[in-house]
Symmetry: C2
Subunit: 110 residues, 2 copies
């Protein structure tokens, strides 16, 4: 199972969970407090985050500690890189329009 990173982050609750894990691994109960929704919802979000590679789990007694994984973030960075020219010191669209003159079309995805 490898769910899309953007689709995963589309949900604001999931982004809140990700943000809650920014400083290190956390048990579910603590995440629930920051998420603002029911525990079952948090569990499901964590499952989605796990399936999309955003988090890893490890058991700790009767709890489960969730932590962020770097891969999806690198994936996002790679996606952004394709558009970096656009927002890096090139604010007009005339430059881009000029470059389009050559190599009119090509295949690209995601």
């Amino acid at each position: 199972m490898h769910i899309d990173a953007f689709e995963t982050l589309a949900d604001p609750t999931r982004r809140r969970i990700v943000a809650a894990l920014r400083l290190g691994e956390r048990p579910v109960g603590e995440i629930v407090r920051q998420a603002g929704i029911h525990q079952s919802g948090v569990s499901r979000h964590l499952r989605i985050l796990q399936d999309s590679g955003f988090v890893s789990v490890r058991p700790d007694g009767q709890r489960r500690l969730y932590a962020l994984r770097p891969e999806p973030f690198r994936e996002l960075e790679a996606w952004l890189a394709d558009y970096r020219r656009l927002w890096e010191a090139r604010l007009d669209r005339f430059g881009a329009a000029l470059e389009q003159r050559r190599g009119a079309n090509e295949e690209q995805e995601t």
Copy 2:
């Protein structure tokens, strides 16, 4: 109207449209060809992309030329920046998240 960037990019068709605009502005008709869905759907996606700040429009005769805008990409980059520590040059220490368990202060080592 300012729709969330992640929610906007969650749709693969919209990402295809954004990718089609990477090299410069395009009329709707040309985008339709690359989008793989009906023209009305493309128009709706373009509306969403416009509302979320991803694209700008300018009339050109009876057509409308859409082009990417840099702001949302900068926004995404800013969001990613908060997690950059996580995936930047931390491959050797996979337990980076593990060791900062709870209450451990996070400072820049090295």
